[in-house]
């Protein structure tokens, strides 16, 4: 019966109830978006780092992975050292360089990664096959579009361009064997991958036996941070970044995003709270006579409180459910806009839907709705019955 009365109170002014629900929905949508933004970037970055299961990124001393053009010398020695550690299950080298595709007098410049095809973690093959021998390469759709090449074509490619002498240090004819989606580069950036030995050879003496980065996966059960420290101790010319440390750095650098999200989320909660509290208070003020009569005929204070809190909860719950749907739609749109930012990997998202974030938002809103109903409910529960009926009679 209390539920029936709460629903009846909300139905009494349908337009007002609908407007309040829409207001709560907007606040809920903003809250969800802010929660998704605050937690989504970090989670997206974590997934981004762990997408291929590599725990360690070993870069030239004092640099971040692929952040500069610096390379690590004696790559074979480094790999031997790493592979000698029983806690390192896999170590795969990566060399980054510019690759020029020369076609009928036209040159298309792209980014290329030299990889070990057996252990590489840079791309997912979408069509064709991975490099099977030294003169084989794969590329992404943007590369195919820019070069007008098709799978199976043989391309004239060069690397190590010297702008003063206007010559390349290495030039090869490579077979385009596969189309791949690259995980760490922007979706619209032309990228190719070829065996690291080929790219090193094309880069001339400056690239011989050098790598930009080594990705390492630690053995199951091993502590990645301890292994990272071990690498830094044994190979002083490198800096090793574990996923945990990278995430801590991301947390530090993106802290302001989280703060922004938290502040805007708190504002949206406050708006929802005030909206529901105002509406329920107005509604209670309009029916103090009815409430006094209910008390007079024997309805307990607790029931009055339950009914009014329930009104607040229903407003909030319906608004929140609508708002969560609205929040998902707006988050998708905002994510699409922000993801168009140049240079961002296609696998990176600003707004990431996580069920726990939705539940958290819903929980916060429901708690807010209950609190918003609590004040008018308390006021209604302590109404003096006789005095209220007398005032109503005079009115």
């Amino acid at each position: 019966m209390i539920g029936l009365l709460a629903a009846a109170a909300l139905r009494r002014h349908p337009a007002r109830t609908v407007l309040a629900v829409l207001g709560v929905a907007v606040a809920a949508a903003l809250l969800l978006d802010m929660v998704m933004l605050a937690t989504g970037m970090r989670e997206s970055f974590r997934r981004f780092l762990l997408v291929q299961g590599f725990d360690l990124r070993i870069a030239p001393k004092g640099t971040l992975p692929m952040d500069t053009e610096a390379t690590i010398g004696d790559a074979d020695g480094l790999l031997r050292t790493l592979r000698a550690n029983p806690d390192i299950a896999v170590a795969t080298p990566v060399l980054g360089a510019q690759l020029h595709v020369i076609e009928r007098g036209r040159t298309v410049t792209s980014f290329a990664v030299g990889i070990d095809p057996a252990t590489q973690a840079d791309y997912v093959l979408e069509a064709g096959v991975s490099p099977g021998h030294a003169d084989w390469m794969v590329a992404n759709a943007a590369f195919l579009a820019a070069t007008h090449a098709r799978l199976g074509d043989t391309l004239d490619v060069a690397a190590g361009f010297d702008p003063q002498l206007r010559v390349y240090t290495g030039r090869r004819r490579l077979v385009l064997g596969g189309r791949a989606r690259f995980l760490y580069t922007a979706a619209d950036e032309p990228v190719a991958a070829l065996p690291i030995a080929t790219l090193q050879a094309m880069g001339g003496p400056e690239r011989a036996d050098r790598v930009s980065l080594v990705l390492a996966r630690v053995r199951e059960g091993a502590d990645a941070d301890r292994v990272a420290a071990w690498v830094d101790r044994h190979v002083p010319r490198v800096s090793t970044l574990s996923t945990n440390v990278a995430l801590r750095q991301v947390d530090e650098r993106m802290g302001y995003f989280r703060q922004l999200g938290l502040i805007l989320g708190a504002v949206s909660l406050a708006v929802g709270f005030l909206l529901v509290a105002t509406l329920v208070t107005v509604s209670v003020n309009e029916r103090v006579g009815e409430i006094a009569v209910m008390r007079a005929i024997g309805v307990r204070r607790r029931r009055i409180v339950q009914q009014i809190v329930l009104e607040g909860l229903w407003l909030t719950l319906v608004g929140a459910i609508l708002g969560l749907a609205l929040g998902l739609v707006t988050a998708r749109q905002l994510n699409a806009i922000l993801s168009d930012f140049p240079g961002l990997p296609s696998t990176f998202h600003f707004f990431l839907f996580q069920p726990v974030a939705a539940w958290r938002s819903l929980g916060l809103l429901v708690a807010c709705g209950a609190l918003a109903g609590a004040y008018p409910a308390w006021r209604a529960a302590i109404l003096p019955i006789a005095g209220t009926l007398r005032r109503e009679a005079i009115a």
Binding site: A8, A9, R295, I297, G298, V299, R300, I385, A386, L389
Partner: protein, 236 residues
């Protein structure tokens, strides 16, 4: 010591209501308004009593004290032998639910509930199972002549019909005492007559009924009339 009035006719029949030296003062700014000045009377089981008097004489204050929705400044109200004047809120609420039925001048039905749901409300609060309270509500609506209106909302009923639904609601938990405050005050003569007829029927069925009214016809229908003036009883 204030003189106590002689026992009233109701006292001879094991009083349901016994009021002794009842006073109610209201603070009004720096002054004290003495709404009731030591009222005493008894009401027997099955009696129909009308309380009449000019506006502001303390009729409604007396009814509120009988209905346990207000507390006396001094004196005693006993209903079925229980002193109800000083009950804490929780016990007073439970007492009202089980023993008191209220009928108000403005009906005060819940506007979004049907007639039947309005009648069920006190029973739901008393924990009566849904099927039993629906059956009782139908029975009561039939009793007040509204069997065919159970699904109607208050706005779809006339004033007289609304007041009859309110009477059915007041009877829902089989109260010891039915209290009505100006029950015909908002009704025209014809519909007021319907309510008076219903009260006469209630009286015949043995309901103990106290009505505060300005309506002479309603007062005449009562078995006993208590006349009030300036917070005291001036005639019976």
């Amino acid at each position: 010591m204030a003189a106590q009035p002689a026992p009233t006719p109701g006292a001879a029949r094991a009083p349901v209501v016994s009021v002794r030296g009842l006073r109610r003062d209201y603070p009004m700014g720096d002054e004290i308004v003495r709404a009731l000045r030591g009222v005493s009377f008894d009401i027997g089981a099955g009696e129909h009593v009308a309380i009449v008097g000019p506006s502001g004489c303390g009729k409604s204050t007396l009814l509120n004290l009988l209905g346990v929705i207000d507390r006396p400044t001094a004196g005693e109200v006993r209903i079925q032998g229980r002193d109800v004047g000083g009950l804490p809120d929780r016990e007073a609420t439970a007492f009202r639910l089980r023993h008191i039925g209220f009928v108000f001048q403005r009906f005060y039905l819940m506007p979004m509930l049907s007639a039947r749901e309005n009648v069920e409300l006190p029973m739901a609060e008393a924990g009566v199972p849904a099927a039993a309270r629906a059956a009782r509500a139908r029975e009561l609506l039939a009793y007040v002549g509204l069997a065919d209106r159970e699904r109607h909302r208050p706005a779809q009923l006339s004033g007289g019909e609304q007041q009859r639904v309110a009477i059915a609601r007041a009877l829902a938990n089989r109260p010891t005492l039915l209290l009505a405050d100006e029950p015909t005050g908002e009704l025209d003569a014809a519909t007021g007559g319907e309510v008076i007829a219903l009260f006469q029927r209630l009286r015949e069925d043995g309901t103990t009924l106290v009505v505060v009214t300005h309506d002479d016809a309603l007062a005449r229908a009562a078995g006993r009339v208590i006349q009030m003036r300036d917070g005291g009883i001036v005639g019976r």
